[in-house]
């Protein structure tokens, strides 16, 4: 019984939150890694692309709610998602046209593109705030829980409760579907193969008649889609606030680099590595240990780092990986 209690406490406070957070990071890191692999620069504007996409989706969600349309137990935001993606894709295509294409034609060094993306980041930052304001928005509707604590306790008779929020379950399911669709697209379709060819060797790809502008456009559209989905899932699960999307950029980059920049599989693994380390290192293990070793009464909370240092964990992982394995766990391109 005590082992079960320990397991439930672990699931409730570590596994479920970390899995949902990991899925959100993985989707964000996929976008970053895709741009890095194909357009060959680290896109610092990715966090704010997520914020912009989420803001558009929230506005459409409100319109749908006002019109009385809902998805029953699922959040209405899912219905609004396609429009959000379309809006975000239009914006990133516009920035590509106005900013990045200029440098691409000049064959500018990647660092110049990175700096340009920082400029775009600030611009999108302002745009999102103009669009929806700086305040926190909660737009999750429908059923809040798949399993809630009270029901779980009554059902199992365990002391510990387990909660699974609809948004958490949804995050993981959507992430799996999106990742599957992305890999199918990259491996099975002609356009996907063209993208991979362009990424592997630009000159050879051009010789075999691949239209580079088309590849670039497709990449941006897919990245916008991934960013919007990641942003909306993060906003549904937690809350939407433009500033938080700026902050989430660091763990996303940590995830992409840990996995190996340019490697989609690495981005997914990296997302979960970062999320689980963040949660596990700041989680106090006292309760779990109490169930597993009933006789043992440690003085502290068995917490490695205070929760204030959550972001420090991403930093440390970044530094360690860059020091010892600059190409990342899954052999991406070195930074």
């Amino acid at each position: 019984m005590d082992i079960l209690n320990a397991l439930v406490a672990f699931l409730n406070f570590v596994f479920i939150p970390a899995a949902a957070y990991g899925a959100q990071l993985a989707l964000g890191a996929l976008g970053v890694t895709l741009i890095y692999g194909i357009l060959r620069f680290s896109n610092f504007a990715h966090g704010d692309t997520m914020a912009f996409g989420t803001a558009v989706t929230i506005l459409v969600t409100w319109a749908l709610q006002a019109a009385g349309i809902s998805l029953g137990p699922l959040p209405t935001a899912l219905l609004a998602l396609p429009l959000g993606i379309a809006g975000t894709a239009a914006l990133v295509l516009l920035t590509d046209r106005a900013v990045y294409r200029f440098y691409r034609v000049q064959k500018a060094a990647p660092i110049i593109l990175v700096m340009a993306s920082v400029g775009v980041m600030f611009l999108m930052n302002g745009l999102t705030r103009l669009l929806i304001g700086v305040d926190e928005q909660r737009f999750a509707d429908g059923a809040r829980f798949v399993i809630n604590v009270r029901d779980f306790r009554e059902m199992t008779g365990l002391q510990e409760g387990l909660a699974l929020k609809t948004t958490q379950a949804l995050t993981v399911i959507v992430a799996v579907i999106v990742v599957w669709a992305l890999f199918w697209f990259l491996n099975r379709t002609k356009s996907g193969k063209a993208m991979r060819a362009y990424s592997d060797n630009e000159d050879l790809a051009l010789l075999s008649g691949i239209d580079p502008e088309k590849v670039v456009r497709l990449t941006w559209i897919i990245a916008a889609g991934l960013a919007t989905i990641a942003g909306v899932l993060y906003g549904l699960d937690k809350a939407f606030k433009p500033f938080n999307y700026f902050q989430i950029l660091l763990p996303i980059f940590a995830a992409a680099i840990v996995g190996g920049l340019g490697n989609p599989l690495g981005a997914i693994a990296g997302g979960f590595v970062v999320a689980f380390s963040e949660v596990a290192i700041t989680y106090p293990w006292l309760k779990v240990a109490g169930y597993l070793f009933p006789g043992w009464e440690p003085g502290g909370l068995l917490q490695l780092l205070g929760t204030e240092y959550k972001f420090a964990v991403s930093f440390v992982i970044l530094i360690v990986v860059l020091l010892f394995k600059p190409t990342g766990l899954f052999r991406g391109k070195s930074v």
Binding site: N244, T282, Y283
Partner: protein, 395 residues
């Protein structure tokens, strides 16, 4: 030449109106920030008192009172300092109702109000640090120190038969002061505080903080935070993960936003905020309703009393100079004298102008003690099964 003559003549006319002046009063509250939902009712309270005095025409030979508002943001000490600086140097206010939060109040008092010699009466800054601050007799508050709230909260929790709690406080002067004074009081009464940890406002997700609180355990969670900020985030995460069912809410949390956010989910939880009972409060609620706002909002009555005290002290000192009237604030607030209820400011001014004494009772049974802070009557509230907030009693 003609214009100059005209201007001089006009100037002479104005100067001739026997000492009557337009007294500007500052209102520096956090209209944006972690307590933004409380600020409008507080402003309306302060303005109501000012209007009452102004309309009576009895203050300093018929002087009028004009309110000047400023946003103190509550959380940003630099922004609050700039706001108070503007109120004092650019607008020339004679006194300020504010600030709203403790950290911001300490900063603007020390950097601006004290050097410029302007009186500040805060309706809601409750940090124990403000009791001992060196203020040249310029700072007062119509709310009690959190040292007292810590005591009251400890009593209430003990009476509910709970003797082990976890505490999460917002990471600033207010949160830390309240959490520490509560812990001291609670442990003195034999209770256990399993953990006393901070949370930062403005985060997306508080599940990590709640996991730490849950690991430490406790029968209830004391949330010494802000209802528009991390405080609600902590409660939300604690409910979602089932870490705590019972919450204790101090003054920064007790508000209508709490009921709107959580409804029946927090049934069985309880809390307290400074608010007096009795005739004064009832009268004030009626006055507020007539003026078109909700007077039961947290600290709204305290703001009314703060403004009223300053204006009555001006009348008693016969001057709107802060350096002069600051010494009269304690006199009008406390005995001896005729008791003054809200809405009776005109009567108070008449008594003062006639050379008599007043004992301002006001909306919150004002009784200033120590360095000029309210002795403190707290309202105990609880959240019933229908998800409504009901007042249990006063202590």
């Amino acid at each position: 030449m003609k214009k100059l003559l005209l201007a001089t003549a006009a100037g002479a006319l104005i100067a001739g109106a026997a000492g009557a002046e337009d007294i500007k009063m500052g209102i520096s509250l956090g209209f944006t920030g972690p307590l933004e939902s409380m600020a409008p009712a507080m402003r309306d309270g302060a303005k109501l008192a000012m209007k009452e005095v102004s309309d009576s025409g009895l203050l300093l030979d018929g002087s009028t009172v004009t309110a000047v508002e400023g946003d103190s943001t509550c959380a940003d000490a630099a922004a609050a300092t700039a706001t108070v600086e503007r109120l004092i140097t650019a607008e020339g206010v004679k006194g300020i109702v504010g600030g709203m939060c403790s950290g911001e109040t300490i900063a603007s008092l020390e950097n601006v109000a004290k050097p410029n010699g302007v009186v500040m009466i805060s309706p809601s800054a409750t940090s124990p640090a403000l009791s001992t601050i060196e203020d040249n007799g310029l700072f007062f508050r119509t709310s009690p120190s959190d040292a007292r709230q810590g005591q009251v909260m400890a009593d209430i929790i003990m009476e509910k038969g709970i003797n082990s709690v976890a505490v999460s406080y917002t990471n600033n002067d207010y949160g830390k002061g309240l959490a520490d004074s509560f812990q001291a009081a609670f442990e003195e009464k034999g209770g256990t505080v399993t953990v006393n940890s901070a949370h930062d406002d403005g985060k997306a997700d508080y599940s990590a903080e709640v996991a730490a609180l849950a690991a430490a355990g406790g029968d209830a969670l004391v949330v010494a935070g802000y209802v528009d900020q991390g405080g609600s985030g902590i409660v939300r995460a604690a409910l979602d993960t089932g870490a705590f069912d019972t919450f204790v809410f101090p003054d920064g949390m007790v508000g209508t936003a709490l009921v709107e956010n959580f409804g029946t989910e927090i049934s069985g939880s309880f809390g307290q905020n400074p608010a007096a009972e009795g005739e004064g409060r009832d009268t004030y609620l009626k006055l507020a309703e007539e003026a078109g706002y909700d007077g039961s909002g947290a600290f709204s009555a305290e703001a009314y009393d703060g403004a009223a005290l300053m204006l009555l002290a001006m009348a008693a000192a016969g001057s709107s100079d802060p350096g002069t009237y600051k010494d009269k604030i304690m006199d009008v607030a406390n005995e001896p004298g005729e008791k003054i209820m809200p809405g009776e400011l005109a009567k108070a001014l008449e008594i003062i102008n006639g050379g008599g004494d007043v004992d301002y009772v006001g909306a919150t049974s004002v009784e200033l003690v120590g360095a000029g802070e309210s002795a403190g009557v707290y309202r105990e509230v609880s959240f019933n099964d229908a998800g409504e907030m009901e007042v249990v009693g006063y202590r």
